[in-house]
Amino acid sequence: MDSFVGHENDLNLKATELRLGLPGTDESEKEMMCSFKNNKRASPESVEDSESVAGSDDKHGNRETPAAKTQVIGWPPVRSYRKNCLQPKKAEAETGIYVKVSMDGAPYLRKIDLKVYNCYPELLKALENMFKITIGEYSEREGYQGSEYAPTYEDKDGDWMLVGDVPWDMFMSSCKRLRIMKGSEARGLGCA
């Protein structure tokens, strides 16, 4: 039994761990304590406590990573006007291009990170998995003919386009949200 515990990391038990929450989220790294609550200062002692919690495997050296929700008013000292400009830019930083995905008839929307995929087949497969549907193959002439579903996206001009027509990179930079159309409306998109 002891050796079992010792090799815990090698068996990668985390991957098969049962827990609530969507796959892909990882709660454990966010549990480090924040020594600064809103507008109150922590004494140096409590700072040292949280360092021992963080442990030694923190590659980035950020021992004081605050919990995800804690945010101090007016910190860091970046102008609020600039803050409003910066948030939409998140898409351009290294952190992923998250777009909403809606499917006709589904009770709630989902979000995916387009940067995770390198080409259309990967994206389509992910959508099929997410919504438990079959979209099929794209053809320039027929669209997604034969499928009950058609993946569409809203581009920067606000128009609804069929997924697959433009090169992948152009799609990534112009896609604002995705919508999986269903039924006769979808079939209509396949025609010229």
Binding site: N39, P44, N62, E64, P66, A68, C85, E92, A93
Partner: protein
């Protein structure tokens, strides 16, 4: 000159009238003629202290006034002393209002000033406002009251909209400068630009980069065409590259350019035309804007890069490779502003390409996202310091820093006058040694003897402030957040920094003892701000009682207990307590 020195010996504070016992062989007109050549207000202040004659001559010849705190003086007092003002710079709210620490409707309204100015300075030409509240009605009043009005600059102001700009554009027939920087304003559309009359041609400076709505391009092009003296043009991101090319062809004399969007897909011919347009701008020394610039389009700039002195990439979100390629063409750069998306690798390029660099500002692309681990580190800063030995101004946002790195940096660059380091996570120690960052800032103040402005961050004990008090003898502005261990820290600063003018503190364990240790000091300072510290109402009341020439103002947070003074703002004033204070500002 003998008669002058005789005057200073005999009557420095004389109450005799000038004509009485000391006939001067130096008539007033000559004195005024000489003094009118003085441009620096610091010199003028010295001059005005010599004797009454000089005080009077100086006040009659002063044309520019700078008021760093609008509540330190009243418009009536200014008007009484200086009858001939043409240019005014006014600053209002405390600087921490930029970071939402000051509630709305705090004050600093320009209207009461304008009313007095309209009466006393009908020939007013320039108004530069920072952190003031400016309504559209005030802008309309301004446009109507000063027929010779030439220059308006609004930075970090709030309360107005594009409607106010319409009034300026329509009525200010002699306008030379319209400079709208980051403001809390309402944007109701770009129609204001079309309000410049068709025969209006005097503009030299136009900056509307921070406005989002599109302007009418034809109107802009016609305006640029007829304003032959236009030197500074900063457009907003609604202007495309194609449109930019046309503007540049109309204004090759430009010295400072803020481009619009840099994202358009260009044909080879369009690229060539843009490159040609940039190479035609022989006087271009400053470029900003560059929204969404990518590696395909940046090369358009290259023909203009050799003479660039200031490159502001704060809106461009470049990666390291893109920055490196661009900077390879900019050997004469003195000032560079970037986002931390360029990472350490980008900063290495700065160090190797820009040996003349004097100012570097690195802003965080995602300041409020705690999951972000990218950005710049201590290595980037060190790399810059190795290549750019003339650095004197740095603003650096990072997620990790070490004491050793900062020591190396200031050894490489001992001439810092402005050192603003922001380690984004509050109270974070040296990430290698886990120690406080005291030695880092100790190194800064010991080495950089010319230091005027310092912002500290990271885990800091009182030792940091002992160092500051002991060594930072030229320090004028100090910003402190989440730092210090006890009152002693603040006491060291107040006791040691003889030239201190502005002290802003938040979330530090400094209490009444610290506050009261600066009793006499505050009269020689512009202001003190303390928020979320350990100061109580009683401490503030005591300060107010002891120092009648100081305004001691307290704002309380909603959930705080009665005795705690949550936000304290102390400043010297000859105007007495504010008469326009809102209910949430308590004057003690």
């Amino acid at each position: 000159m003998d008669s002058i020195s005789k005057k200073t010996k005999d009557s420095p504070n004389s109450t005799d009238s000038p004509e009485s016992t000391h006939p001067s062989s130096f008539p007033d007109e000559v004195l005024e003629g000489v003094l009118s050549l003085l441009s620096f207000n610091k010199d003028r202040s010295s001059v005005s202290l010599v004797c009454k004659d000089w005080y009077n001559a100086e006040r009659w010849t002063r044309t520019k006034v700078f008021i760093g705190n609008c509540y330190s003086v009243s418009p009536e007092i200014v008007a009484r002393r200086f009858p001939k003002i043409r240019s005014i710079i006014l600053k209002g709210k405390p600087r921490f209002s930029d970071f939402n620490l000051v509630p709305e409707n705090w004050g600093a309204d320009i209207q009461s000033w304008l009313v007095v100015f309209a009466r006393v300075y009908p020939f007013l030409e320039e108004l530069r406002l920072k952190r003031m509240t400016v309504s559209d009605e005030s802008l309309e009043f301004l446009a109507a009251s000063f027929p010779g009005f030439k220059a308006l600059s609004l930075s970090s102001c709030d309360g107005f909209s594009t409607d106010g700009l319409k009034a300026i554009a329509t009525h200010c027939k002699n306008l030379i400068e319209l400079d709208i920087q980051d403001n809390g304003m309402d944007d109701f559309g770009g129609g204001w630009l079309s309000c410049f009359p068709e025969n209006f041609a005097s503009l030299e400076v136009l900056n509307f980069a921070s406005l989002n709505s599109e302007v009418n391009f034809d109107a802009l092009e016609r305006l640029v065409t007829r304003c032959k003296s236009l030197k500074v043009l900063r457009v907003n991101k609604g202007i495309t590259l194609e449109q930019l090319q046309r503007l540049l062809m109309r204004a090759p004399q430009l010295m400072e350019l803020g481009t619009g969007s840099f994202q358009q897909d260009l044909t080879p011919r369009q690229c060539a035309e843009l490159e040609s347009a940039f190479s035609n701008c022989k006087n271009l020394h400053t470029v900003s804007g560059l929204w969404e610039a990518n590696s395909l389009n940046l090369p358009i700039l290259y023909p203009a890069c050799a003479s660039l002195v200031f490159l502001n990439l704060i809106d461009a979100t470049l990666q390291s490779g893109e920055l490196a390629k661009l900077l390879a063409h900019c050997p004469n750069l003195r000032r560079l502003w970037v986002q931390d998306t360029v990472e350490d690798k980008g900063l290495e390029a700065v160090g190797s390409c820009c040996p003349l660099l004097e100012e570097l500002r690195v802003f965080p692309a995602d300041p409020f996202d705690p999951d972000i681990l990218h950005g710049v580190t201590e290595s980037g800063f060190v790399a810059v310091s190795r290549g750019c030995r003339r650095l004197r101004y740095v603003l650096y946002f990072c997620r990790q820093m070490t004491n050793a790195a900062v020591a190396t940096i200031v050894q490489n660059c001992p001439d810092f006058t402005h050192f603003r380091l922001c380690i984004i996570n509050p109270g974070q120690p040296d990430h290698l040694t886990n120690e406080p960052m005291d030695e880092a800032f100790g190194a800064v103040v010991k080495t950089c003897t010319k230091l005027q402005r310092l912002s500290v961050s990271g885990l800091l004990t009182d030792l940091t402030f002992e160092y500051i008090g002991k060594y930072a003898k030229n320090l004028e502005t100090l910003s402190v957040a989440f730092a210090g261990s006890s009152d002693r820290g603040m006491q060291c600063v107040l006791g040691g920094c003889s030239k201190l003018r502005k002290l802003e503190i938040r979330d530090c364990p400094f209490g009444n003892a610290a506050l009261l240790s600066g009793l006499e000091k505050y009269e020689s300072m512009r202001s003190l701000w303390m928020s979320a510290c350990n100061v109580t109402m009683n401490g503030c009341r005591l300060l107010a009682r002891e120092m009648p020439w100081l305004n001691v103002e307290v704002m309380k947070d909603e959930e705080s207990d009665d005795s705690h003074a949550d936000k304290v703002y102390v400043y010297r004033s000859v105007a007495g307590p504010r008469r326009d204070a809102p209910p949430f500002v308590m004057t003690l």
